[in-house]
């Protein structure tokens, strides 16, 4: 008796399962683009909205090759197995023509076997971990839009070198890196060590447990940093770590010459925080870039019009770019044939809202790498200003980082710095001591 | 007066009590019977822990049937359960206090009741701060009886009060029972029939869930049936 009931139930469950997954394929009228993003995450939300925006704009202009574009976004839930299943659904049930999206490196790793199996053209926005690149060696259908970890590191070095050239008083002989203990943080530190060896400066680092993982107490790391007395302090973590990190640095009286953070996003209302003044960060995009880049302004305005909101992460413009590059290539190829689209993609030359122009080149391992470059930004008077590269700079850098305990006169310090060039020399002397 | 009328109780399909009726006025009443006869079930029914399928239980004319246990206790029934049911990590004094703290009527008389209880069990006075769980079985029994008395009950139910007690203490308990019954109705179940019969006024014999016999203590003491079933003599 029991077995009967069980079988009935099991069959029922299975059949329901099969029915809902086996949504019948529709006639191949529109061009289908499948996207994988973590929808519960800020990056995924910005990304999916921007993709929708891009598709809407394309369709409003009559689509591509006279066909409409259909975007199918599936949540990867930041779970490897769910992401792999989602990829299978896109490729076999929805029969998409192209794959876009992507955020976390770990999830991308779980998708590699599937991507290789289907061999569809993939234009991938996420994944900075170079392990992914190694696994993608020799795959001509893989187009990557995010800088690899080693590229980012090298680029930062270049940036700081240029900053040093411009600002005589700038100093970066000793740096301390506080990094979250996950792959993101410790990968960054590994790269940084190599760079420091080449750049002949001293570096020390220590891992902390990110608030995202249940941490949130950074004082021991900050104390070690203070003892080390670096010129530059960098923390590599998440948006959740941003403000407590600064508060605790203030608490123990740790104010290095430059205070840099590199989270993928910032917490809500971070702009309103009084502590943010002078904090530097690595990012790809800020809303203020609309003042210096036309593409950025177009995107930003369109996004605001559509959603009455501003994207908080660079995944917004990046995912917009993702769709646009693909759409341009299809247009250029005149077909959705794989080989033709790959060829067309190789000739991409897209000025993106991120500021940079995307052109696919060879990277260390893969053939198709095009990316925007990170920018040095700084919070100034509640706004995120780009300070380097010079061509996108929206403001001048405040240097040195205004000490926490002198924040009462914060504004005076900034203005003083902007005007008073001689002050730099005085600081230089002080540093030399 | 506690009155039980035509009570039927069953656990699932198994009927435990059949048409049981009894009354307890201002007296002490014994309830005897072999293990499994339904003594504890009857007590549980009075306390509202088991719900009868039919019958009526009243205290001074007020029905107890629909009440929750805590309400019944507040109405003036106190119980000394078979397994004592003390709070092992709490001290003796705290245990005693729980006896009256939740009964508004008794709470007012806390000090008075405490004196009364100590008069009855002087040994407890020396152990006030000892956790109840660390005491010997006999002392725990005393705490349990004392806790019930703290409630200043109208009816006191004692379920096997002499179990696990040393004879001298048993004597003390039953001596105390005589004291107690002066102002409280007492219902006592007991295996130590001989001792109990000396302390009670009337007795009921419960067998297989039915009242087999009801008589005065004197008559029961002289009854051959009881000698045979319980004393084995």
């Amino acid at each position: 008796m029991r077995i009967k009931v069980f079988i009935v139930l099991l069959l029922a469950a299975f059949v329901t399962g099969l029915f809902f997954v086996a949504v019948p394929a529709q006639a191949a009228e529109p061009i289908k683009i499948g996207a994988l993003l973590p929808l519960a995450d800020a990056t995924g939300k910005d990304g999916s909205r921007s993709m929708e925006l891009a598709v809407k704009q394309i369709n409003a202009k009559g689509g591509i090759l006279g066909r409409q574009v259909q975007l199918i976004v599936i949540d990867d839930e930041l779970k490897a197995e769910k992401a792999a299943a989602a990829l299978d659904k896109l490729c076999t049930v929805d029969n998409v023509d192209f794959i876009v999206g992507g955020m976390a490196s770990g999830i991308t790793m779980a998708l590699i076997p599937g991507m290789k199996k289907y061999g569809k053209v993939v234009v991938w926005a996420g994944a900075a971990y170079s392990g992914v690149e190694k696994a993608m060696e020799g795959q001509d259908w893989f187009f990557h839009l995010h800088a690899w970890d080693y590229q980012q590191g090298a680029y930062y070095e270049k940036g700081w070198a240029e900053v040093k050239q411009k600002y005589a008083s700038f100093k970066r002989d000793k740096m301390f890196m506080a990094y979250e203990e996950g792959a993101f943080g410790s990968g960054s530190f590994k790269g940084q060590k190599v760079l420091a060896e080449n750049g002949k400066y001293e570096v020390q680092g220590e891992a902390f447990k990110s608030a995202a993982m249940g941490g949130g107490d950074y004082r021991s790391v900050l104390r070690h940093a203070k003892e080390f007395n670096p010129d530059q302090f960098i923390w590599v973590g998440y948006d959740k770590d941003a403000l407590p990190m600064m508060e605790q640095a203030k608490e123990i009286g740790f104010s290095p010459l430059t205070f840099v953070g590199s989270p993928p996003a910032w917490p809500v209302d971070f702009a309103k925080q009084p502590l943010n003044e002078g904090v530097l960060l690595y990012s790809y995009w800020a809303d203020t870039m609309k003042n210096v880049s036309r593409a950025s302004k177009t995107y930003s305005d369109a996004f605001h019009k559509e959603f009455k909101d501003t994207p908080t992460t660079y995944f917004g413009p990046l995912c917009y770019t993702n769709i646009m590059i693909l759409a341009d290539a299809i247009k250029k190829a005149g077909t959705i044939d794989k080989a033709a689209v790959i060829k067309a993609l190789e000739t991409t030359n897209y000025p993106s809202p991120l500021g940079d122009t995307f052109v696919f080149k060879k990277s260390n391992v893969i053939d198709h790498q095009a990316n925007s470059w990170p920018k040095f930004m700084q919070w100034q008077k509640g706004k995120l200003e780009v300070i380097w590269p010079w061509e996108y700079a929206t403001a001048k850098m405040i240097y040195p980082f205004p000490a926490w305990d002198k924040r009462g006169k914060a504004s005076a310090t900034i203005e003083g710095e902007k005007k008073a060039v001689p002050a730099k020399d005085a600081k230089k002397d002080k540093v030399k001591k | 007066m506690l009155e039980v009328k035509n009570l039927n109780v069953s656990y699932g399909k198994l009927q435990i009590l059949w048409d049981v009726s009894m009354q307890i006025g201002n007296e002490s009443v014994g309830l005897f019977g072999p293990n499994g006869a339904g003594k504890t079930t009857l007590i549980n029914a009075i306390l509202g822990i088991v719900r009868p399928i039919s019958g009526e239980i009243t205290l001074d004319g007020e029905s107890l049937l629909k009440m929750e246990t805590d309400k019944i206790i507040k109405h003036g029934i106190a119980v000394v359960p078979q397994d004592r049911e003390l709070f092992p990590m709490m001290t003796v004094l705290e245990n005693l206090r729980t006896g009256c703290a939740y009964i508004p009527r008794a709470k007012k008389k806390y000090k008075e009741r405490l004196e009364y209880v100590f008069a009855m069990f002087p040994i407890l006075k020396e152990r006030l701060d000892q956790p109840a769980g660390s005491m010997s079985g006999g002392q725990q029994r005393m705490v349990s009886i004392a806790r019930a008395l703290m409630a200043d009950p109208k009816v006191l139910i004692l379920d096997e009060p002499s179990g696990g007690l040393q004879p001298s203490i048993v004597t003390e308990v039953f001596h105390g029972l005589k004291e107690i019954k002066k102002n409280v109705s007492v219902l006592v179940t007991e295996q130590n029939v001989r001792q109990a019969l000396k302390a009670i006024d009337r007795g009921y014999i419960l067998e297989d869930g039915k009242i087999a016999m009801a008589d005065t203590a004197q008559n029961l003491a002289g009854n051959d049936h009881i000698r045979k079933s319980y004393l084995g003599i």
């Binding site: 008796m1 029991r2 099991l10 929808l39 392990g131 | -």
Partner: protein, 307 residues
């Protein structure tokens, strides 16, 4: 009547084996996920049948995953061999730690198994050989990711788990674990060597969890200590499935796994934002309506007694 049962099982098995002929890759992938969680839920339940509540599923799952990764990377084991290595490693470690840990009961055992899992994670995260926090990539996943073949391997693991569970239910192990769960003193007085059976069952269930962990690595091709391989998800989801399906049975966790996986996936596709809210409500309502799990509900409905 008896043969009818076997016949049904055989037919089901044939249907399950030939599934790749009829359905696409995506349902197969979903089937893989269901099988992964089902095996974890069932193995957890097998230990629970002795009354021991384990929170260490993720720990042994991750341990198996790392064993697979390390043996195939450093010793070039083929996938199936590396899966065996995963099962053996997890089983051995469980047997070893079981010697001290299985003297604990209830909440204490649960907490200690949880802590053990965390210790495995920290070790994996801090060693060079395991790739540290970045984890490691498998050179080539099992059968080059061929959906049918991987599904068959997962199916084999799932069926193996069900078979072990049935064996546990049909042999003296059932009597040992039930008596231990019901009353350890009675069990010992009847001659049950409680400790021996606990160690055996703990080792076997942990080996299954390790095996599933190994399969996970072979399917998705990487290990990563913090977010994926030792994820608390692999503790909470299987427990949820087993509880909702019905404890102490073979089919309860199976039904739970199928049902919850299907619900989760279909909710995700219908309600992209906030599907977990609905999922949570379903769980709460489920536990309030079916406190004995779905199997308990079925038994009640059909008035099927314990036997």
């Amino acid at each position: 009547m008896k043969y009818w049962k076997y016949l049904i099982c055989a037919v089901l098995l044939i249907v399950a084996v030939s599934l790749p002929k009829f359905i696409g890759v995506y349902p197969l992938q979903m089937a893989n996920i269901i099988l992964i969680y089902m095996a974890l839920a069932l193995s957890w339940d097998m230990l629970l049948r002795t009354g021991q509540l384990s929170f260490g599923i993720a720990g042994f799952f991750g341990l198996g995953g790392y064993a697979t990764m390390l043996t195939s990377t450093y010793f070039g084991f083929n996938p199936l061999l590396s899966l065996m290595a995963a099962a053996i490693t997890a089983g051995l470690v469980a047997a070893l730690v079981g010697y001290s840990v299985l003297r604990l009961r209830a909440l204490y055992f649960a907490i200690v198994t949880l802590a053990l899992g965390e210790i495995f994670r920290v070790i994996a995260q801090n060693l060079e050989i395991t790739g540290g926090t970045e984890g490691m990539l498998l050179k080539q996943t099992m059968f080059k990711g061929d959906a049918a073949s991987t599904y068959w391997v997962m199916l084999a693991i799932g069926v193996l788990t069900i078979i072990i569970s049935i064996i546990f239910q049909k042999t003296r192990i059932h009597y040992a674990s039930t008596s231990i769960r019901n009353d350890e003193i009675v069990a010992a007085s009847s001659g049950v060597n409680i400790f021996k059976y606990l160690v055996i069952i703990f080792a076997v269930t942990s080996a299954i969890q390790g095996l599933v962990g190994g399969a996970y690595v072979q399917l998705y091709g990487f290990v990563e200590p913090t977010a994926t391989t030792f994820s608390i998800n692999f503790v909470l989801m299987p427990i949820t499935m087993a509880l909702l399906g019905g404890l102490y049975t073979t089919w309860g966790p199976v039904i739970g796994a199928v049902l919850l996986s299907v619900i989760a996936e279909s909710l995700k596709l219908r309600i992209p934002y906030g599907h977990l809210l609905v999922y949570g409500i379903i769980m709460v309502v489920g536990i309030l309506w079916f406190p004995g799990g779905i199997m308990g509900f079925i038994k009640k409905m059909f008035k099927i007694s314990n036997q």
